[in-house]
């Protein structure tokens, strides 16, 4: 198999200049977000360059401890991002969500042992990209799931009280809310599973084909990663919601509103 075509740096610079076209469209439509667009684009280029440099370094070192430390750092960063974007208190919920995510990622990485030898999966070249893909989906689904759970509970607290008064335990009274949040979090993925490959070629497959793998091998990887992603979102959303209930109710079973980020 051929190795991937190396993009010369000057061609990439020219390619980046294509950004001028959307900027012209922004100007034409009088969308006053050009500054935002430029900042986002510059951040994208800088962050990716940075990741490119230190991933190269980590791949060269290929030390199992550093690889896992990297995964741990990704979990911590994801956790900050999830709680921030779902409008929840980082201080109140992190001690529940972080263990939920560590446990989930632990289970998912272990499940890769069905396919790979430990030596392969724990090596930087496999662990970091696979971990990264899984983590990106954990991030998106948990923002939706946690936000939905707590905001619906706040909005429909009377329903919770009513179920308790009908004899429900807290767990029983919260079930409708957990069910709804979980469904909201994984719905986009079920949709994604059903149209997979028909319209858009998934990123991982594209990468592998460009990297010189046969389409058949790329498909095997894609199926594996889809299952891993679905497992990750399912477990992480359920665990994060279930564990974070611990701090969300007082000794009288009242929902404490301080889980929300104070403004």
């Amino acid at each position: 198999m051929n190795s991937t075509y190396n993009i010369p740096i000057h061609s990439l610079v020219f390619f980046v200049l294509l950004f001028l076209i959307p900027i012209i469209i922004f100007k034409y439509l009088e969308i006053r977000k050009i500054k935002n667009l430029l900042i986002s684009a510059i951040r994208m280029i800088l962050q990716l360059s940075l990741v490119g440099f230190y991933l190269g370094y980590i791949f060269k070192l290929n030390n199992i401890f550093i690889n896992f430390a990297w995964i741990l750092v990704m979990i911590l960063v994801a956790n900050i991002s999830i709680l921030q974007q779902s409008g929840l208190s980082f201080r109140k919920l992190s001690r529940f969500t972080i263990p939920a995510y560590i446990l989930t990622i632990g289970i998912v990485i272990s499940s890769f042992l069905i396919i790979f030898t430990p030596k392969t999966i724990f090596s930087a070249r496999y662990l970091i990209p696979l971990g990264g893909m899984v983590m990106g989906n954990l991030l998106r689904s948990n923002i939706v799931g946690l936000n939905r759970f707590f905001s619906e509970l706040k909005k429909r607290e009377n329903e919770y009280i009513q179920y308790i008064s009908l004899g429900a335990s807290r767990r029983e009274a919260l079930r409708p809310f957990i069910r709804e949040a979980y469904q909201a979090a994984i719905a986009p993925q079920i949709g994604g599973l059903a149209t997979m490959g028909l319209v858009a070629l998934p990123g991982m497959m594209t990468g592998q084909i460009l990297g010189g793998s046969s389409p058949l091998l790329a498909i095997k990887y894609q199926i594996m990663i889809m299952i891993a992603i679905f497992l990750t979102t399912s477990l992480s959303v359920l665990l994060a919601i279930t564990l974070s209930q611990g701090s969300s109710f007082d000794e009288y079973g009242r929902f404490k509103k301080d889980v929300f980020k104070s403004h």
Partner: protein, 214 residues
Amino acid sequence: MLEIKNLGVTKGEKKILRGIDLTIPSGEKVVILGESGSGKSTLLKSIILFEQLKYGTIKFRNRIINESNVNEYRKNFVYISQKAPQSFYSVKEYICLPFKFNHNRDLSPDQTIFEHYLDRMNFKFDILAQNYNDLSGGEQQRITIIQALLLNKPYYLLDEITSNLDKQNVSKVMDEILFQDSRSIVYVTHNTDHLDRFDKIYRLQDGLLTLEVS
């Protein structure tokens, strides 16, 4: 007997309830009138301690209620809020849902009473197979009332439960709720219909409760 003494609730700086005294002997039917924002929903939820009390005590059967006995205490009450819950269950599954809770596992809905309620509240039996979420707001409210009545608890706390119902249905719901002599009712509303059917009428204004008619 339920005794509420000098109960106060504040939210932020705002005093929602101020020095509420209210005693409800078992079997007494009480209505509390108040405009929206008068604190009547808060009062109802305070009775089962789902609001944080700033001061005051609640005594039930001569025991002061605190965090150690609140769960047991709440088992004597059914609370029905103004808005019926959402639920993806069929009407029948929804009505029977409380009987699936671990606490009620030894109970089962009495078929005859079940059918009686459906009939009295203007439902045909084929409603049972329908999706609860497909019903109108008023139908959901009446179904929720049936669900609550089937549990047959000593105290019913009702928050403006007839707001979605037409006149004829309000009267039927009232008939069923007030039917049992042994049952205590606390009904908060701004609606002045059917008041003569209650033992006592209170008024809640600016967080203060006064007895109007007894």
